[in-house]
Symmetry: C2
Subunit: 592 residues, 2 copies
């Protein structure tokens, strides 16, 4: 087991190997990948497909003097194994040491924490410019998948490199013919032409950007890769090396169903079946995708748009087909395009609905502000994974959404507290003609309580779910259930029934309700599933600033949290029911 | 005067004209442009260059059924004159009716408020998708300058149109060989090749994206333009029409010095000299550009980066040359590239400093958060026009910056209150190795008071400029002088001397200072030059939420203000010195 990998402690050890040993190393690494992936899950397709390329990179180049920047960096497992971190793959007790993305805290061979797509070329041009300024001589290598190429930042990077750099930069385009789902965009027609002509097609996007270009069809063959990398090493100018690899290489299920196997939960290697059943029962992904299919069928004006993330809300190939190509469009990894196109479509009378992950919407501040909100285009955006307890990788946190989109004029952010409210808000967001409206998918499982939901969210109106006195608990979205628990505890411990408010709007305040609370309340407690800074609670605190109402603002801090335990984090922030009850008691005592 | 233009009340009138009359119309329109531009200033080069193209568009297409989307829309003056809005050009009493950008409130021929670059193709794809959905048949036309093409959103739009649309979309690339300054990026080498070969170059960026392509060299000749537009009208698929025009056409100074004449203040037509002397005396643009030249000379690690906006901080061609091409780089209109490249350069030991306008930095939320702040790359960003009283066009407001960048972990936003502090903060931001640091250029003229500035801003520390009691006035950045005035007035009217605090950090709070204020203050008043929501004051209000300290939060509202009178706006918000003094008196009375 791992006969060659066992000898690898740093890239220097890779350079000593002959071709046969390198080939054995590749199969060792695939075994190590299986060891980790079958047990804890992770990015399967991208890593299985790039084993040979990353071995060849370390064989040819001299890391960390020569510098690799992996786009998204979800495909960097092989690089990690070759740079002193194989324990995170072969030792089951040490999986936790590895973040799944490049991470400078782990190794001097990593230069950036990366998890969003399309950034590698731009970051690499920066390394290259500084190298030139400081009279360095090393190679700078960006390693980018075909899927990431459609992002505006990557295209800006290619454009810059194509004329402004004039020195060494090697952009390796790892073309496995897929984004997470199938690719969308004119670029991909061109990549296909280039593959079909062994790099000699009439049109060549990279050359049109002013870049030198080399094609290598055998992207899973170490000898070929070593040859092509040697040929561009120490290049005096930017060059694109287009390599053709097979996503999921070496594992039939992953080779066959590439969308499912892009990222996969723990699985049985023999059958390819998942060995855990996360969620189970009702899921918001199923609810959303089923709803969208039905909604599109019943209303021909509905236009579903996804920037390469249909599966973020359960919209697999079959459901996409049910919606059909007139009403469903994937613009590739191009969030700016998705939002601006939605705005245009709304102005022409369609009902656009954009679906993606919260963390990726960050890429569209300006498109949401200028293209959309300034024009008050009534688009709907459904965001998954905005909850603090769903994705905990520092690169994929959804906890900043309220502080971003809650402060753009005209934009409404709706935070539902149960299934009925989520479904009603989604329906409203799509049908309305009022405002750009973002609906956050709840992150704490499907809650089926008996609270009915309003249909209309045109007016900012908080909902008083339980009338009490003295203390008003405003529990936003996902934290509503924590608000309920806090309310019970306060009643039990402090002897009075507090008021429980479901704010529903994360972006705005309902001054009328806030004003009325002054009558028989001394304290307002806000709870929100996101950072406090720029968020919901601060708006409440400012509203009451000149009054005698006290305000306790609870939420996360403005920090880059990484792979945390959600409940521990809340405990550290004083957000257990007990701690908050105590704090309420203290605050009331002081103010009396 | 205006013999043909006088007959034009709508596009229908244009269609009736013969070629000779169309040509006369073009010179009428240039006269009308001169009438407005010489008297109130505006975008000269872009409008002078596109007169014939916009006449031909209205001659060939049928607006508003056929729909034009003008990129940036600063070149849409001719379109406006042809669609019922000529009074804004020929009648000096009615200049104010015209926003200088497309504006749906002005006319049914405008579909979007637009002022940022690179958005037209994406917006147009949305119009086109919705048209297809609703079985419409009209032409959708995006009109985009060559300078705007380098923006990621535009490239994402081309990529989408190149394969996913499959129906009518006409992208007119108005190639005048310039952004505001000279163009930068590989795209521009390709455009030159295409011009030099009459559209037949070996490489063609547009075809590589999968688009159909037509070249028209005579972009200022109406007959040629009509011919080429007729040839693509009702196209069944997306097509790029690349037209070559002359920026500043018809006015020698503007044809000769295109950078100076992109936008110009009022001028004497005979001499080309400005007839107003805005500013005069010391300016932050001169101070900044002189400083950057000197800093780059004295420190070879300094790398000045601008996304096509060097003149935002006075860095004209001569000063750019003094810094030299190793230490100065322009990445074209590509803000994402600018910030990500800066992050990369910082990681490799350079001292990157990005200069641009506040409103354009909005395009980089994700690059600042993920590429930069998450990696704590110590880049410097110098932002002009973040003040509420500098740019008042709704598309160019800088008042959102604190709510955006003040809520990203690790990012520091510094708001200086006088010249000494601005210069010290800029020096610190460039030399430090602590955090991504944004320095806001003051908007209220160069203040030379005697307050000295600290050199080090590594620790968040508010500065108590004047110690008093009862009321603490926290006057951020540009509003510091208003805080001073308020302090004097409070002392005079209310009979006690308040404490005056210069917070310096717009992004963070200094808990120690805030805590200490509790000892002998009852009220904190925050003043900020930006929207309150997500801004500085709300952080203060939340800090004091559970204490007996009252907080009054003053600033602008979360709104899209357009072409306002700054002092009137403040008066409407209750922000005159008198009104605030009264409010302070009331608040103190209630709390006693």
């Amino acid at each position: 087991m791992y006969q060659v990998l066992n000898q690898i402690h740093s890239p220097a050890d890779v350079k000593k190997l002959n071709l046969q040993a390198l080939t054995t190393l590749a199969s060792d690494i695939r075994e190590a990948l299986f060891n980790r992936l079958t047990k804890i899950g992770g990015h399967c397709g991208p890593n299985l497909g790039s084993v040979e390329a990353e071995i060849a990179l370390h064989y040819v180049f001299n890391s960390p003097v020569d510098k690799f920047v992996f786009d998204v960096s979800h495909q960097s497992y092989t690089h990690k194994m070759l740079t002193g971190r194989k324990a995170g793959y072969i030792d089951d007790t040490r999986f936790g040491e590895d973040s799944g993305y490049t991470n400078p805290d782990e190794s001097e061979h990593d230069f950036f924490n990366i998890g969003h797509t399309s950034t590698s070329i731009s970051l690499a041009t920066g390394l290259a410019r500084a190298r030139d300024l400081l009279h360095g001589k090393e190679n700078i290598i960006a390693f980018i998948g075909d899927g990431s190429l459609s992002g505006g930042e990557a295209l800006e990077g290619l454009d810059y490199a194509g004329s402004e750099l004039g020195s060494n930069l090697i952009v390796i385009v790892n073309d496995n013919e897929m984004a997470i789902a199938e690719n969308h965009g004119g670029i991909y027609k061109n990549l296909k032409e280039l593959r079909d002509t062994n790099g000699k097609a009439e049109h060549n996007l990279f050359k049109a950007f002013g870049l030198d270009y080399v094609y290598e069809p055998n992207g899973n063959d170490i000898a070929s890769l070593v040859r092509v990398f040697e040929s561009v090493k120490d290049s005096s100018h930017p060059v694109v090396v287009h390599i053709h690899t097979q996503k999921g290489k070496g594992y039939t299920p992953a080779e066959t169903d590439q969308e499912t196997w892009h990222w996969h939960p723990p699985f049985d290697r023999a059958t390819g079946k998942a060995t855990v059943n996360w969620g189970g029962g009702e899921s918001y992904e199923d609810l959303t995708s089923n709803y969208l299919v039905q909604k599109a069928k019943s209303d021909p004006k509905v236009l579903v748009i996804s920037p390469a993330m249909p599966m973020a809300l359960g919209l697999g190939p079959e459901k996409r087909q049910m919606i059909g190509p007139v009403q469903y469009t994937d613009c590739g990894i191009a969030e700016e395009q998705a939002i601006a196109m939605a705005s245009g479509a709304a102005k022409r009378g369609a009902k656009p609905v954009v679906i993606t992950n919260a963390t990726f919407l960050q890429r569209t501040y300006d498109q949401m502000a200028q293209d959309t909100a300034l024009n008050n285009s009534a688009i709907a955006v459904i965001l998954n994974f905005s909850a603090f307890n769903t994705m905990t990788d520092v690169t994929h946190l959804g906890i900043y959404i309220n502080s971003i989109y809650g402060n753009i004029p005209n934009v409404r952010v709706l935070a539902p507290t149960n299934k009925a409210e989520y479904m009603a808000m989604m329906e409203y967001a799509i049908d309305q003609n009022d405002h750009p409206t973002i609906v956050l998918v709840p992150g704490n499982g499907v809650v089926n309580d008996n609270r009915p939901a309003d249909k209309d969210y045109a007016q900012v109106k908080f909902r008083v779910e339980e009338q009490g006195s003295k203390v008003a608990i405003m529990a936003l979205g996902d934290f509503y259930q924590r608000g309920e628990a806090l309310s019970r505890q306060v009643e039990k411990e402090l002897g009075f029934k507090p008021t429980l408010v479901n704010p529903r709007f994360a972006s705005d305040i309902d001054c009328e309700t806030l004003e009325r609370l002054k009558e028989n309340h001394q304290l307002v407690v806000t709870l929100e599933d996101g950072i406090v800074q720029g968020g919901f609670g601060e708006k409440i605190a400012a509203f009451y600033g000149d009054s005698s109402m006290k305000v306790l603002v609870y939420g996360l801090e403005k920090k880059f949290y990484d792979r945390y335990n959600p409940e521990e984090l809340l405990a550290n922030l004083g957000m257990t029911t007990d701690a908050m009850t105590q704090k309420i008691a203290t605050t009331l005592r002081v103010s009396q």
